[in-house]
Symmetry: C2
Amino acid sequence: MSNLQKQAEEMIRRRGERVTSSRVQILAMLLAEQRAVTHHEIEERLRNTHRLDRVTLYRVLEWLNDKCFVHKVVSDDRAWRFRANTHIYPHQHAHFECMRCTTVICLDEMKVEYDRPLPAGYRSQEIELTVKGLCAECT
Amino acid sequence: MSNLQKQAEEMIRRRGERVTSSRVQILAMLLAEQRAVTHHEIEERLRNTHRLDRVTLYRVLEWLNDKCFVHKVVSDDRAWRFRANTHIYPHQHAHFECMRCTTVICLDEMKVEYDRPLPAGYRSQEIELTVKGLCAECT
DNA sequence: GCTGAATTGCAACAAAGTTGCATCTACTAT
DNA sequence: ATAGTAGATGCAACTTTGTTGCAATTCAGC
Protein backbone atom coordinates (compact mmCIF):
# COMPACT_ATOMS: atom_id res chain seq x y z
CA MET A 1 0.00 0.00 0.00
CA SER A 2 1.44 3.32 -1.11
CA ASN A 3 2.14 6.28 1.09
CA LEU A 4 -0.69 8.29 -0.35
CA GLN A 5 -3.09 5.45 0.16
CA LYS A 6 -2.09 5.31 3.81
CA GLN A 7 -2.51 9.06 4.04
CA ALA A 8 -5.95 8.93 2.40
CA GLU A 9 -7.07 6.16 4.72
CA GLU A 10 -5.80 8.07 7.71
CA MET A 11 -7.62 11.23 6.64
CA ILE A 12 -10.90 9.37 6.45
CA ARG A 13 -10.43 7.37 9.63
CA ARG A 14 -9.42 10.40 11.66
CA ARG A 15 -12.75 12.02 10.83
CA GLY A 16 -14.59 8.97 12.09
CA GLU A 17 -15.90 8.08 8.63
CA ARG A 18 -16.10 4.62 7.13
CA VAL A 19 -12.99 3.49 5.34
CA THR A 20 -13.66 1.62 2.11
CA SER A 21 -11.25 0.64 -0.58
CA SER A 22 -13.02 2.80 -3.21
CA ARG A 23 -12.78 5.88 -1.05
CA VAL A 24 -9.14 5.28 -0.29
CA GLN A 25 -8.18 4.62 -3.92
CA ILE A 26 -10.04 7.65 -5.23
CA LEU A 27 -8.86 10.05 -2.58
CA ALA A 28 -5.27 8.79 -2.94
CA MET A 29 -5.44 9.36 -6.66
CA LEU A 30 -6.77 12.89 -6.18
CA LEU A 31 -4.06 13.61 -3.63
CA ALA A 32 -1.45 12.46 -6.15
CA GLU A 33 -2.76 14.81 -8.84
CA GLN A 34 -2.15 18.45 -8.17
CA ARG A 35 -5.08 19.56 -10.25
CA ALA A 36 -8.82 19.23 -10.78
CA VAL A 37 -9.69 16.06 -12.69
CA THR A 38 -12.90 14.81 -14.28
CA HIS A 39 -14.91 11.78 -13.34
CA HIS A 40 -13.88 10.28 -16.66
CA GLU A 41 -10.15 10.74 -16.03
CA ILE A 42 -10.44 9.10 -12.64
CA GLU A 43 -12.35 6.19 -14.10
CA GLU A 44 -9.69 5.64 -16.77
CA ARG A 45 -6.91 5.88 -14.26
CA LEU A 46 -8.29 3.44 -11.74
CA ARG A 47 -9.59 0.96 -14.30
CA ASN A 48 -6.53 -1.27 -14.12
CA THR A 49 -5.80 -1.22 -10.44
CA HIS A 50 -9.26 -1.19 -8.95
CA ARG A 51 -12.62 -2.60 -10.01
CA LEU A 52 -15.11 0.19 -9.64
CA ASP A 53 -18.61 0.96 -10.86
CA ARG A 54 -19.33 4.26 -12.60
CA VAL A 55 -22.15 5.00 -10.17
CA THR A 56 -20.00 4.27 -7.17
CA LEU A 57 -17.42 6.70 -8.45
CA TYR A 58 -20.08 9.41 -8.73
CA ARG A 59 -21.28 8.63 -5.24
CA VAL A 60 -17.83 8.56 -3.71
CA LEU A 61 -16.92 11.87 -5.33
CA GLU A 62 -20.12 13.42 -4.05
CA TRP A 63 -19.35 12.03 -0.61
CA LEU A 64 -15.76 13.28 -0.64
CA ASN A 65 -17.09 16.68 -1.61
CA ASP A 66 -19.73 16.69 1.14
CA LYS A 67 -17.10 15.76 3.70
CA CYS A 68 -14.75 18.42 2.37
CA PHE A 69 -11.97 16.05 1.39
CA VAL A 70 -12.21 17.44 -2.14
CA HIS A 71 -13.96 20.29 -3.90
CA LYS A 72 -15.81 20.56 -7.19
CA VAL A 73 -15.09 22.87 -10.09
CA VAL A 74 -17.46 23.58 -12.99
CA SER A 75 -16.10 24.38 -16.40
CA ASP A 76 -17.23 25.11 -19.90
CA ASP A 77 -17.44 21.48 -20.96
CA ARG A 78 -20.23 21.01 -18.42
CA ALA A 79 -18.37 18.29 -16.56
CA TRP A 80 -17.48 18.44 -12.90
CA ARG A 81 -13.86 18.33 -11.93
CA PHE A 82 -12.62 17.33 -8.50
CA ARG A 83 -9.54 18.29 -6.60
CA ALA A 84 -8.25 17.11 -3.24
CA ASN A 85 -8.29 19.69 -0.49
CA THR A 86 -4.79 19.56 0.90
CA HIS A 87 -5.50 22.39 3.30
CA ILE A 88 -8.55 24.35 4.23
CA TYR A 89 -9.42 26.49 1.26
CA PRO A 90 -10.35 30.11 1.81
CA HIS A 91 -13.91 31.07 1.04
CA GLN A 92 -12.74 32.74 -2.11
CA HIS A 93 -10.77 30.78 -4.59
CA ALA A 94 -9.72 31.05 -8.18
CA HIS A 95 -9.12 28.69 -11.06
CA PHE A 96 -7.32 28.88 -14.35
CA GLU A 97 -8.81 27.03 -17.26
CA CYS A 98 -6.94 26.39 -20.45
CA MET A 99 -9.16 27.09 -23.44
CA ARG A 100 -7.33 24.56 -25.57
CA CYS A 101 -6.64 21.48 -23.43
CA THR A 102 -9.36 22.35 -20.85
CA THR A 103 -7.02 21.55 -17.96
CA VAL A 104 -8.02 23.33 -14.79
CA ILE A 105 -5.55 24.39 -12.14
CA CYS A 106 -6.24 26.12 -8.86
CA LEU A 107 -4.79 29.57 -8.30
CA ASP A 108 -4.99 29.26 -4.57
CA GLU A 109 -2.95 32.26 -3.68
CA MET A 110 -5.00 34.63 -5.74
CA LYS A 111 -7.08 37.16 -3.89
CA VAL A 112 -10.36 38.12 -5.44
CA GLU A 113 -11.66 41.62 -5.12
CA TYR A 114 -14.66 43.44 -6.43
CA ASP A 115 -15.34 47.10 -6.15
CA ARG A 116 -19.10 47.51 -6.11
CA PRO A 117 -21.84 46.25 -3.83
CA LEU A 118 -24.39 43.65 -4.88
CA PRO A 119 -27.96 44.74 -5.68
CA ALA A 120 -30.15 45.38 -2.65
CA GLY A 121 -31.17 42.24 -0.80
CA TYR A 122 -28.48 40.07 -2.34
CA ARG A 123 -26.10 38.22 -0.07
CA SER A 124 -22.79 36.80 -1.15
CA GLN A 125 -21.59 33.51 0.33
CA GLU A 126 -18.87 32.48 -2.03
CA ILE A 127 -16.84 33.97 -4.82
CA GLU A 128 -15.41 32.03 -7.70
CA LEU A 129 -13.01 33.48 -10.17
CA THR A 130 -12.11 31.72 -13.37
CA VAL A 131 -9.29 33.00 -15.50
CA LYS A 132 -9.40 31.56 -19.00
CA GLY A 133 -6.58 31.47 -21.47
CA LEU A 134 -3.76 29.23 -22.59
CA CYS A 135 -1.63 27.17 -20.22
CA ALA A 136 2.13 26.87 -20.50
CA GLU A 137 1.92 23.76 -22.66
CA CYS A 138 -0.64 25.09 -25.08
CA THR A 139 0.83 28.54 -25.62
CA MET B 1 -45.70 42.36 -33.72
CA SER B 2 -44.30 43.71 -30.47
CA ASN B 3 -41.75 46.42 -30.10
CA LEU B 4 -39.07 44.02 -28.95
CA GLN B 5 -39.74 41.75 -31.87
CA LYS B 6 -39.26 44.69 -34.22
CA GLN B 7 -36.09 45.60 -32.37
CA ALA B 8 -34.78 42.03 -32.56
CA GLU B 9 -35.53 41.84 -36.27
CA GLU B 10 -33.85 45.16 -36.84
CA MET B 11 -30.72 44.06 -34.92
CA ILE B 12 -30.37 41.00 -37.12
CA ARG B 13 -31.17 42.72 -40.38
CA ARG B 14 -28.80 45.59 -39.72
CA ARG B 15 -25.94 43.13 -39.44
CA GLY B 16 -26.84 41.65 -42.80
CA GLU B 17 -27.84 38.31 -41.33
CA ARG B 18 -30.83 36.24 -42.33
CA VAL B 19 -34.02 37.08 -40.50
CA THR B 20 -36.11 34.08 -39.49
CA SER B 21 -39.05 33.92 -37.19
CA SER B 22 -37.25 31.62 -34.73
CA ARG B 23 -34.33 34.01 -34.41
CA VAL B 24 -36.61 36.99 -33.93
CA GLN B 25 -38.80 35.28 -31.33
CA ILE B 26 -35.86 33.98 -29.34
CA LEU B 27 -33.85 37.16 -29.41
CA ALA B 28 -36.93 39.23 -28.54
CA MET B 29 -37.59 36.96 -25.57
CA LEU B 30 -34.01 37.31 -24.39
CA LEU B 31 -34.16 41.07 -24.78
CA ALA B 32 -37.30 41.11 -22.65
CA GLU B 33 -35.65 39.16 -19.84
CA GLN B 34 -33.01 41.08 -17.99
CA ARG B 35 -31.17 37.96 -16.94
CA ALA B 36 -29.49 34.78 -18.16
CA VAL B 37 -32.03 32.07 -18.94
CA THR B 38 -31.71 28.38 -19.72
CA HIS B 39 -32.59 26.62 -22.91
CA HIS B 40 -35.38 24.92 -20.99
CA GLU B 41 -36.92 28.18 -19.79
CA ILE B 42 -36.90 29.57 -23.30
CA GLU B 43 -38.54 26.44 -24.67
CA GLU B 44 -41.31 26.60 -22.05
CA ARG B 45 -41.88 30.25 -22.67
CA LEU B 46 -42.14 30.07 -26.43
CA ARG B 47 -44.11 26.84 -26.52
CA ASN B 48 -47.48 28.55 -26.80
CA THR B 49 -46.67 31.37 -29.15
CA HIS B 50 -44.23 29.73 -31.50
CA ARG B 51 -43.76 26.22 -32.81
CA LEU B 52 -40.09 25.41 -32.41
CA ASP B 53 -37.94 22.31 -32.42
CA ARG B 54 -35.57 21.65 -29.52
CA VAL B 55 -32.64 21.29 -31.89
CA THR B 56 -33.46 24.51 -33.68
CA LEU B 57 -33.47 26.31 -30.36
CA TYR B 58 -30.00 24.95 -29.58
CA ARG B 59 -28.79 25.99 -32.99
CA VAL B 60 -30.30 29.45 -32.86
CA LEU B 61 -28.83 30.07 -29.42
CA GLU B 62 -25.43 28.94 -30.65
CA TRP B 63 -25.83 31.21 -33.65
CA LEU B 64 -26.90 34.20 -31.54
CA ASN B 65 -23.85 33.59 -29.37
CA ASP B 66 -21.49 33.35 -32.36
CA LYS B 67 -22.86 36.59 -33.75
CA CYS B 68 -22.56 38.27 -30.36
CA PHE B 69 -26.26 39.03 -29.97
CA VAL B 70 -26.19 37.06 -26.71
CA HIS B 71 -23.61 35.47 -24.44
CA LYS B 72 -23.39 32.19 -22.61
CA VAL B 73 -22.96 31.59 -18.89
CA VAL B 74 -22.04 28.27 -17.26
CA SER B 75 -23.35 27.43 -13.85
CA ASP B 76 -23.35 24.67 -11.30
CA ASP B 77 -26.32 22.83 -12.72
CA ARG B 78 -24.35 22.07 -15.89
CA ALA B 79 -26.78 23.94 -18.09
CA TRP B 80 -25.93 26.86 -20.31
CA ARG B 81 -27.73 30.11 -19.73
CA PHE B 82 -28.07 32.84 -22.33
CA ARG B 83 -28.45 36.55 -21.99
CA ALA B 84 -29.00 39.22 -24.61
CA ASN B 85 -26.12 41.62 -25.11
CA THR B 86 -27.68 45.02 -24.87
CA HIS B 87 -24.30 46.70 -25.22
CA ILE B 88 -20.80 45.53 -25.88
CA TYR B 89 -19.65 43.67 -22.81
CA PRO B 90 -16.18 44.29 -21.45
CA HIS B 91 -13.73 41.43 -21.60
CA GLN B 92 -14.15 40.87 -17.92
CA HIS B 93 -17.60 40.32 -16.55
CA ALA B 94 -19.18 39.00 -13.44
CA HIS B 95 -22.28 37.04 -12.56
CA PHE B 96 -24.27 36.43 -9.43
CA GLU B 97 -25.80 33.03 -8.95
CA CYS B 98 -28.42 32.31 -6.35
CA MET B 99 -27.65 29.08 -4.55
CA ARG B 100 -31.31 28.42 -3.88
CA CYS B 101 -33.26 29.31 -7.02
CA THR B 102 -30.18 29.10 -9.31
CA THR B 103 -31.14 32.35 -11.05
CA VAL B 104 -28.16 34.05 -12.64
CA ILE B 105 -27.88 37.79 -13.05
CA CYS B 106 -25.08 39.76 -14.64
CA LEU B 107 -23.12 42.17 -12.47
CA ASP B 108 -21.95 44.18 -15.42
CA GLU B 109 -20.54 47.10 -13.56
CA MET B 110 -18.32 45.00 -11.38
CA LYS B 111 -14.62 45.28 -11.95
CA VAL B 112 -12.57 42.19 -11.43
CA GLU B 113 -9.11 42.40 -10.01
CA TYR B 114 -6.53 39.91 -8.99
CA ASP B 115 -3.30 40.60 -7.27
CA ARG B 116 -0.86 37.91 -8.33
CA PRO B 117 0.54 36.87 -11.68
CA LEU B 118 -0.30 33.58 -13.34
CA PRO B 119 2.26 30.75 -13.32
CA ALA B 120 5.06 31.09 -15.87
CA GLY B 121 3.93 30.51 -19.44
CA TYR B 122 0.25 30.99 -18.72
CA ARG B 123 -1.69 33.59 -20.67
CA SER B 124 -5.00 35.01 -19.63
CA GLN B 125 -7.61 35.83 -22.25
CA GLU B 126 -10.76 36.19 -20.26
CA ILE B 127 -11.80 36.47 -16.64
CA GLU B 128 -15.07 35.27 -15.20
CA LEU B 129 -16.17 36.03 -11.71
CA THR B 130 -19.12 34.29 -10.13
CA VAL B 131 -20.46 35.47 -6.83
CA LYS B 132 -22.67 32.88 -5.19
CA GLY B 133 -25.17 33.46 -2.46
CA LEU B 134 -28.84 34.24 -2.01
CA CYS B 135 -30.78 36.64 -4.18
CA ALA B 136 -33.24 39.19 -2.84
CA GLU B 137 -36.20 36.83 -3.20
CA CYS B 138 -34.56 33.84 -1.56
CA THR B 139 -33.01 35.64 1.38
C1' DG C 1 -41.95 33.96 -59.20
C1' DC C 2 -37.38 31.26 -59.48
C1' DT C 3 -33.06 29.68 -57.59
C1' DG C 4 -29.49 28.37 -54.40
C1' DA C 5 -27.78 28.54 -50.08
C1' DA C 6 -29.07 28.79 -45.39
C1' DT C 7 -32.28 27.21 -41.93
C1' DT C 8 -35.39 23.98 -39.84
C1' DG C 9 -37.53 19.52 -38.26
C1' DC C 10 -37.09 14.83 -37.30
C1' DA C 11 -34.87 10.79 -35.67
C1' DA C 12 -31.23 8.88 -33.69
C1' DC C 13 -27.25 9.30 -30.83
C1' DA C 14 -23.95 10.68 -27.00
C1' DA C 15 -22.09 12.30 -22.59
C1' DA C 16 -22.75 13.19 -17.85
C1' DG C 17 -25.17 12.25 -14.12
C1' DT C 18 -29.23 9.99 -11.16
C1' DT C 19 -32.45 6.55 -9.00
C1' DG C 20 -34.19 2.11 -7.14
C1' DC C 21 -33.17 -1.94 -5.35
C1' DA C 22 -30.84 -6.16 -4.11
C1' DT C 23 -26.34 -7.58 -2.37
C1' DC C 24 -22.28 -7.00 0.16
C1' DT C 25 -19.07 -5.06 3.83
C1' DA C 26 -17.07 -2.20 7.56
C1' DC C 27 -17.74 -1.18 12.00
C1' DT C 28 -19.97 -1.98 16.71
C1' DA C 29 -21.52 -4.56 20.49
C1' DT C 30 -21.27 -8.72 22.49
C1' DA D 1 -13.98 -14.00 17.18
C1' DT D 2 -18.76 -13.52 15.66
C1' DA D 3 -23.14 -11.67 14.47
C1' DG D 4 -26.05 -7.83 13.49
C1' DT D 5 -26.80 -3.66 11.17
C1' DA D 6 -26.27 0.73 9.03
C1' DG D 7 -24.06 2.13 5.33
C1' DA D 8 -21.62 1.26 0.76
C1' DT D 9 -21.58 -0.97 -3.68
C1' DG D 10 -23.02 -2.97 -8.26
C1' DC D 11 -26.28 -3.34 -11.76
C1' DA D 12 -29.92 -1.89 -14.79
C1' DA D 13 -32.70 1.47 -16.24
C1' DC D 14 -33.59 6.27 -16.70
C1' DT D 15 -33.04 11.55 -17.15
C1' DT D 16 -31.12 15.77 -18.71
C1' DT D 17 -28.52 18.37 -21.75
C1' DG D 18 -26.68 18.73 -25.88
C1' DT D 19 -25.13 16.90 -30.93
C1' DT D 20 -25.16 14.90 -35.70
C1' DG D 21 -26.94 13.53 -40.33
C1' DC D 22 -30.08 14.25 -43.60
C1' DA D 23 -34.23 15.47 -46.04
C1' DA D 24 -37.60 19.19 -46.42
C1' DT D 25 -38.47 24.02 -46.17
C1' DT D 26 -37.64 29.04 -46.31
C1' DC D 27 -35.25 33.41 -47.00
C1' DA D 28 -33.13 36.87 -49.91
C1' DG D 29 -31.48 38.37 -54.36
C1' DC D 30 -32.42 38.34 -59.02
